[in-house]
Symmetry: C2
Subunit: 207 residues, 2 copies
């Protein structure tokens, strides 16, 4: 049961756009990876741009679908943040090349479609903003002068995952997600002085 031609083209494009970047990948590169001559591609696709758009939108949708459920559930925000981080890492681990294209090549989309994709990226960012702001309001997360900086810290950490994650590496995506959530939630410090004395008896007992 061979893949149909359009699917073959789509997969070759993901790999090549990811390895060399969109502008450095020629339609001739894709056609020879698929095993047809360049002109034959255009029976199955309309243009190089449309191929990139299909890839990038599919990539973003996978992340949106995975994290959307965590954005608004009633669970405690720290648990939602941990699950959102794990969901992101799982999508990244299952779609490394797709993620590389999605995160790096969207800049080469035409003006109109690029604006739409930027909108989807902003929606994704808003999911994490919502979780973190909920957590601060509920007293579960630390109050911050600029909560958006925490969002950017989390997203930067997550955007970098497809660059180094390997399915054959020492940790599964689930384990990596947990460890990254530990870094974000608990920090790297071994001990942290309590924000305020818990009660006077405990303070006296420690003196």
């Amino acid at each position: 049961m061979p893949l149909d031609a359009a699917e073959n083209i789509y997969r070759a494009a993901i790999r090549l756009f990811g390895e060399r970047g969109y502008p450095s990948t020629s339609m001739r590169d894709i056609s020879s990876a698929v095993g047809v001559l360049p002109g034959s591609l255009y029976t199955h696709i309309t243009s190089k741009q449309a191929l990139l758009l299909q890839i990038v939108e599919n990539g973003i949708q996978k992340y949106l679908d995975a994290v959307r459920p965590l954005a608004t559930t009633a669970e405690p925000a720290d648990i939602r943040l941990r699950e959102a981080i794990k969901a992101h890492v799982k999508v990244a681990g299952d779609n490394i090349q797709l993620s590389l294209v999605t995160f790096h090549q969207w800049k080469h989309l035409d003006d109109e479609t690029r604006r739409r994709v930027v909108g989807l990226r902003n929606t994704y960012q808003a999911y994490f903003s919502r979780i973190i702001e909920d957590g601060i309001e509920a007293g579960i997360l630390r109050p911050m002068v600029h909560p958006s900086l925490a969002v950017l810290a989390v997203l930067g950490m997550l955007n970098w995952v497809p660059e180094w994650f390997s399915p054959s590496g020492p940790a599964t995506a689930d384990e990596v997600g947990d460890h990254l959530a530990d870094v974000i939630l608990e920090g790297l410090l071994e001990v942290r002085p309590p924000a305020a004395p818990i009660d006077d008896a405990a303070a006296a007992a420690n003196a």
Copy 2:
């Protein structure tokens, strides 16, 4: 006192490579930004590749120079990590476009020079590994199953800074660095249970 021609070309290339990417920037784009005809560029540079290499190596060196002093000082590792994060953010904030080219366009270098640049990137990563491993050994940072994951978390967060930092934004590079160091060192949780009971009297007093 006008900039000399080579400096003009270098600056225009940083801006254009950062905005459009290396493969999508033509020498004709650069020449018209500088105000000369395409062929005239080659009096001052040897090739498009050499121009990219000059930019990327200069970019990496700025980061190496800024963080190297923190890699080996005798100060506590948590302070060194905070200062390293702040040093990185300061370089990023002072060189946003240079950083964008350095972080994204090195993939378009020739095989040989790309290998050298990857070596410099690994050196940079080793600075952070050293600080975090020192911290764990000294009992200042939490023991971790995979300390390298913490390094990748920090570098991912930092690599993302040039994408969103603005000198005219609400926080200076110094403040952003402190806030990001807070996220990494202390985490986002408001309270954290102690790793182990401190003493029995305190536990009893809380019961």
